[in-house]
Symmetry: C2
Subunit: 251 residues, 2 copies
């Protein structure tokens, strides 16, 4: 199973991803977890020790230059578009129980005239992971799906968009749906997070009528406080954990 998680910054993508990954691990699955959001810290949310010391792959300049044969410091120039990456998941992941976790780090956004060794290597890595790895793969992504293309999109079983009661989160969900559609990825599911009351549920359902909601997570101060204490949300007593387990049944 390959799942990608996206949504606006701050909606709780990483909290949800961490609960999903730890629950799958608890269910006996081997999980390859990909932190593809430079503004997040999936390792900390998973409860991996020394999470802040994990060097993002995009900052491993020597490895990137070696694999892509790019010339450091040159603008433009030539480099390999198919660097070797198949050994990287074993070599560069942090471990917890049956979870392997890789932190991708920040890369340049795509667009006209822009192509970089870092983004090329990360793209090759994602392609390898999605197409060739046989674990459950969970990717915690930015508010977009820039690491995915037509080929990888076909192998993603579900793109889960996390939303909260807020207009920006709705707009981002629609934008993600649009981007996903462009690469032929129509298997979207939505998780409503930070739900305070029935009005919040109705707001999200009414504003995202074209989406398939697979579950709801409460606005829960226990999750905020877990974060303040530096504890994984999986280590809290929260109804959110049961809800995530139910969602896995619906995937």
């Amino acid at each position: 199973m390959k799942l990608a998680v996206s949504g606006k910054g701050g909606v709780g993508k990483t909290t949800f991803s961490a609960l999903l990954i730890r629950t799958l691990d608890e269910m006996g699955k081997r999980v390859l977890a990909i932190d593809a959001d430079p503004d997040a810290n999936l390792a900390a949310a998973l409860g991996i020790e020394n999470a802040d010391k994990i060097v993002p792959i995009s900052e491993m300049k020597e490895m990137i230059y070696e694999r892509t044969e790019a010339q450091p410091g040159s603008i433009g120039g030539f480099f390999k578009l198919n660097p070797k990456v198949d050994d990287l998941p074993e070599a560069l992941s942090a471990k917890l129980n049956n979870i392997k976790m890789m932190r991708l780090g920040g890369v340049k956004k795509g667009g006209s005239g822009c192509i970089c060794p870092e983004s090329t290597l990360l793209r090759a890595l994602i392609t390898h992971i999605v197409l060739a790895r046989d674990e459950v793969v969970i990717m915690d992504m930015e508010a977009g799906i820039e690491h995915l293309g037509r080929a990888t999109a076909r192998a993603v079983d579900k793109l889960i968009v996390v939303v909260e009661p807020g207009r920006r989160s709705i707009e981002t969900a629609e934008h993600i749906q649009h981007l996903a559609g462009e690469i032929g990825l129509n298997r979207l599911a939505v998780v409503g997070n930070k739900i305070r009351n029935d009005a919040d549920v109705r707001f999200l359902q009414e504003n995202l009528p074209q989406f398939d909601f697979i579950g709801w997570l409460p606005y829960d101060e226990a999750l905020i406080d877990a974060d303040l204490k530096g504890v994984s949300p999986f280590s809290t007593v929260s109804i959110a954990k049961d809800r995530v387990r139910e969602m896995i049944g619906r995937l």
Copy 2:
């Protein structure tokens, strides 16, 4: 006065920026508001009508190609690094009272080997606005300061970092401080948002001891509900408005 606002996605940067801009406007200032966060919608938060119809400048491809003399579709190639931009604030801003607002849109992140006509034009525009415009300028930025360089940093009176009780927001604040220091921008101020209780204040103060807090905004469901109704936070009855006015006095 030139102010830049940054912070992790979802902490309430745009809500704060909108309150700041509308309050300054109410105080009789002319304000040039810059929406430099592609994941935000400052126009909607300001209460500008048809906010969703404002085309971001980065998507005005014809204008960008005309001004930079870039060749559409080519990778690499040559284009002007100093496009004419001084007429753009008048020509391309939306208006509300004494507020002019420009939406920059998404651009490529900087880094080795990456330079694009879009980012070049936006950078030139920001440089012009910060160095040559005489209104109060408020820039709502992403979780970083990528549009700023050494020259523009000198003209920014304050970089305001919005934080919430949450570890990622702390890490982002420290990262922003680091990036700002690299371009000689040390005039930082912090606003604590979504404060539930004294413990939240203590958490932020203890984790950001090197920062100057200029004020605190409450976790306020009225602000969430205003957003759900599509209303500017400035149109709500919230203690946050008084707090922002006090902060302006401290800037």
